[in-house]
Subunit: 173 residues, 2 copies
């Protein structure tokens, strides 16, 4: 893992990432932005992130895209309006509806695909674990799901490593 | 192409698509929802939609996800607030910013990936061709890009076929 300083971002980051977002993944000669693209790239290389049979692969891609385009497409703008102090958040009903539809799915299964952890769970739990979202409404199956994914030792280690990396980068400024 | 009637959607559609959206793709034994997942599935089968070299493939996935998660994630909720009559659309600055970043990219190239049409263009142009979005601000490179993609004979044929299919389905109700 590597971070680039916020100062100088015009040349060190925006030249490669037109939307100024993170993360950015380099793998040998290959370079890519978009979390979803990086995750799908890693998933193609690691069976621990995606089953190797065609149906398992298709469903993993499907739920990865659902996290990005059916859930996050509503929850991130909803969150944005919340934190920027919108008086009436015009996305509330839509967000409630989508999260309710996902709650129904998660009532019936522990993991999104093939009864096992995949990269789709990693992304979906990351989309759902936003504090404001978790405290908005009552969705016990979704809540248990977020706990299930974020309690995995791999998640805890990655999370701790990232915070340590940020702390070290701050100290060295 | 097949459509299912809106009446009876609880059993004929929602059972397979928890968010009630279209499209839904069947390919032999494989079934999937999410436009992005269906497009990436087809792209893996057709070089006309995605180059076969690793860098071309990675960039096609990257720009497909960018259309879904960096552009549409802002423009669709922005559009939703517009059409539901929000007085102050709290997503306007963000939408303007993202579309401006994309305009800069499209000033420099005709197609998003590898100097040729890919599935990423198909999706990005579909995201951008929404009338309300096109008339919001002035982005000549994006406008020329949408025209370039939607003027392709394959787009025109698919569009005409879909409208004819809807018209026939309406007549047979």
């Amino acid at each position: 893992m590597r971070t680039v300083p916020f100062d100088g971002r015009e040349t060190n980051h925006l030249a490669q990432q037109p939307f100024g977002q993170i993360p950015f993944l380099s793998d040998g000669d290959l370079e890519m932005f978009e979390s979803g693209a990086g995750l799908l790239h890693l998933a193609r290389k690691a069976e621990s992130l995606m089953p190797r049979d065609p149906a398992g692969e298709v469903q993993t891609v499907q739920w990865t895209i659902a996290a990005l385009n059916s859930i996050e497409m509503v929850t991130v703008p909803w969150w944005f309006l919340e934190v920027t102090g919108a008086e009436n958040n015009g996305l509330s009903d839509w967000a409630k509806n989508r999260l309710g539809q996902l709650e129904k799915v998660l009532r019936e299964r522990e993991w999104l695909v093939a009864d096992r952890f995949t990269v789709a769970d990693l992304l979906m739990a990351d989309v759902l674990r936003v504090a404001k979202l978790r405290s908005y409404g009552d969705r016990p199956a979704s809540e248990a799901y977020v706990t299930r994914v974020t309690d995995r030792p791999a998640f805890k280690k990655a999370h701790a490593d990232q915070l340590a990396h940020f702390a070290a980068a701050d100290r060295s400024r």
